[in-house]
């Protein structure tokens, strides 16, 4: 089981390296945001596999935390790309 988990971690790290290639090269900022979102998802997998490897369940709250932070980051970046600002001002008052 230990060797299998190490092999799985190595495969996930290789896919993160492939995503970093797209993050560096990506022609538009949107490509970079999509690559960063997928890197966050792969990081969640890495946390799960690592907590299986060292046999502790104290790291499992980090999974939910990373998912929420990655979603908020993607929403903020997409609002910035669309309008130029993230939190719009209320004009009616």
């Amino acid at each position: 089981m230990t060797y299998f988990l190490w092999a799985a971690i190595v495969i996930v790290v290789l896919s993160i390296v492939a995503l970093v290639y797209r993050l560096v090269k990506g022609p538009t900022p949107s490509d970079r945001v999509v690559a960063l979102d997928t890197i966050g998802v792969s990081l969640i997998c890495l946390v799960g596999l690592f907590s299986m490897l060292i046999d502790t369940s104290y790291f499992l709250e980090i999974i939910l935390l990373l998912a929420i932070l990655s979603f908020i980051g993607t929403i903020a970046f997409s609002k910035f790309i669309e309008k130029g600002d993230i939190i719009t001002r209320d004009n009616s008052r």
């Binding site: 797209r22 299986m52 997409s78």
Partner: protein, 122 residues
């Protein structure tokens, strides 16, 4: 029982790894933003759900520790992954990212033009 649980966990983690690798290859090889967002959102969401399900079954069946946080994480990723990709590709279309040159039809273009015209009228 332990062997059966280990077979289940290894199968789920292998499925998740396959989908993650497919998502990474898709992000490298596909030609424009929209196809890349397509590959990244579906495939990586399914991959991370499979791997987290494997982790959940490992902690439940082998360690006797039922952990609802992972289930909540799976549910949250299942809701937010496609929504994030949708908002990202729609806002980058409005910001003017061109689709691939071989795209056959573009149904969003007249809608966006109509929306911009209505906003100018106001």
């Amino acid at each position: 029982m332990t062997i059966l649980a280990n077979v289940l966990v290894v199968f789920l983690i292998l499925c998740g790894l396959l989908f993650l690798v497919v998502a990474a290859i898709g992000l490298i090889r596909l030609p424009d933003l929209y196809t890349r967002a397509h590959a990244a959102s579906k495939s990586s969401t399914l991959g991370v759900m499979c791997i987290l399900l494997g982790v959940f079954f490992h902690f439940w069946l082998n360690e006797n520790h039922f952990n609802p946080t992972i289930l909540l994480g799976i549910l949250f990723l299942f809701i937010t992954g496609p929504v994030g990709a949708h908002i990202m590709s729609r806002s980058s279309y409005i910001a003017g990212v061109k689709p691939w040159a071989g795209t056959g039809r573009d149904d969003l273009k007249p809608e966006i033009e109509r929306m911009k015209k209505e906003q100018n009228l106001k």
